[in-house]
Structure formats: C-alpha cells, structure tokens
Symmetry: C2
Subunit: 136 residues, 2 copies
DNA sequence: CATAATAATGTTATAATGTAACAACTTTAA
DNA sequence: TTAAAGTTGTTACATTATAACATTATTATG
C-alpha cells in the first residue's frame, strides 16, 4: 500500500469524492466543474467543493494552478517532498506535468535567501505546447 | 527621456489613466480597485479597465500577478527583456519586487527544452515575508 | 480628400470564481 | 459524558472576468 492509499483512507466522504473526481480526470478541473460532476453524489453548493479542496491542498494531494484557477491531483512520486514544485501546462491538450529539479530548487533558495525573503509558498507555472501537441 | 516615457506617449487616454493608477500605487491593484479609483475620471464599467490592462500587459508595462488576481506596474530596469521574470510578494505589507536571474533563466530553459515544451508564458511568484516585515 | 480599415470607447448584461455566516451533525479525546 | 475539533448542509453574497453590441476616433491608402 503506497502513501497515497494510506492518506486516502483518512479522508472524509466529501474529500474522497473530490479527490476521486480529480484523480479520474486527465487534466485540471475548476471547482465548479467538480461541483457539476458531484451533483449526483449530493453536492449542492460550492463550499462543499472548496472546503474539501482546501484540505486536499493542505495534504499535498491536490495542487492549485493559479494561472488556470483550477486544481489537479498530485501525480508526483514521493508526494511528501514538495518544496519546489513546478508545472508545465499544455495550452492545447490541457495536460499538466508536475516536476521538481534540484538545481532549480537551489537557485530559488539562493535568490530568496539573498533577498532575506521568508518563503511561504511558491508558484511556478509554464504555459505552452507539450511535446505531443507540437510534433504533428 | 527613458523608455517608459517614450512608450507612455503612445498610450490612449484610458490606458494612460490605468497606467498612472498602477504607477502611483505602492503595490498591486485589482482591476476593480482601479475601476473605483477611476470613477472620477469617468470610468463606469470593468471592461474599460480590463481592456486597458490587456494592452498594458502586452506592452510589458504592467504585469499580472496570477496568485493575487492583481496587476502591478513594471519597475524592472530594461523592460524590453522580460523573458524570465519572477516576483516576490510580501504577504504582510503587500510589496512586490520583480527580478530576473540568469542562472534561473538558464535552468528553466534547460528544463522546458529537455521536455520539448514550447514555452509561451511563465509564471513565477513567491509568497512570503519581506525583509522589512520580519526584521521587527 | 474620401474612404476603408483598425483601434479605442461606452454600456448593459452575464458568466465564472470564491467567501461569509449560521446551524446541525459526527468523531475524537479527556 | 461531555467538551473540543472536525465535517457537513445551506443561503446569501462578494469578487473577478467576459460577451455582445453600438459608437466614436485614429490611421492608412488610393
Ligand atoms: Zn504533487
Ligand atoms: Zn499538449
Ligand atoms: Zn517588469
Ligand atoms: Zn513586507
């Protein structure tokens, strides 16, 4: 049983429903898209989605994409270490790939450190065309 | 006469009003905050702000902060080169500092290049506490 | 100049995203 | 068992952004 399964076991009903919706999606979903999907499961108001999302983001099981106002299930191996996390978002097919990089991490730490800036949260998002979409 | 002044001379009336509002602000402003400020100058509808903002962002005179849904006047020296641009945003005082870094640029180019990802737009935003705010 | 093309503006309405606030219920821990 | 913390349901509202259409101003171009 992997880390994901372990954490999932502790999720509440609504958190699990939202998590499943995101996991089964092949791309990011807006909060309202999730709400629509979960109408059949009894969801009625945006708060039900937003509250579950907040927890899932806290747990690092879901990431918020600021440039899309959307949410994506974490697919990064070793979900515990999310210090420096970046996303490549294809504007053609919607695919999101999540990655970290040691040199990038180091450089960012150096830059914020040099400015004496105490980092709380980092947003790194690349918008463009993925390899599958520009090869044709 | 600097680059900024040169470009400003070509701005339309509304673009200039929005640019001035942002330039005179000591931090980022939401579109609706700008709209409120420009009521006295005849602004009535959000479109008037959003349309001006779109042009100013195209001109690289204003940057959109995705994690704040807000806009900030460019204060980066040498506005022409904005390939890799990052922001440190203080969550206490609201100050935004804009910077670029060659090593960071290089690493990001390497990462997107290795993934064969054709970059259109980059969002790099750090949220945290600036040096002025955590020294007390 | 005439006139067509482009850019900018004004306005109304609506869509999309996100929170506040209150009441009820459930789980956990002392 | 009782208090604390967490979860849920719900109504209402706040914030951010765009669609659509009509009008005016500016800029080429012949
Ligand atoms: Zn992740
Ligand atoms: Zn793609
Ligand atoms: Zn700038
Ligand atoms: Zn500060």
């Amino acid at each position: 049983m992997n880390e994901h399964a372990h954490i999932s076991a502790n999720l509440s009903k609504n958190q699990l429903l939202v998590m499943d919706a995101l996991t089964n999606s092949d791309g990011p979903l807006s909060a309202y898209a999730i709400l629509d999907q979960l109408c059949d499961q009894g969801f009625r108001a945006p708060q039900q989605v937003y509250r579950a999302l907040k927890k899932l983001v806290d747990f690092n099981m879901v990431h918020r994409l600021e440039s899309l106002n959307a949410f994506v299930a974490c697919r990064h191996p070793g979900r515990e270490d999310h210090e420096t996390l970046a996303f490549m978002i294809c504007e053609n097919c919607g695919q999101v790939s999540e990655f970290t990089d040691n040199l990038l991490s180091k450089r960012l730490q150096h830059l914020t450190g040099a400015a004496h800036f105490v980092l709380n949260k980092m947003t790194i998002e690349f918008r463009g065309i993925c390899i599958n979409c520009h090869s044709t």
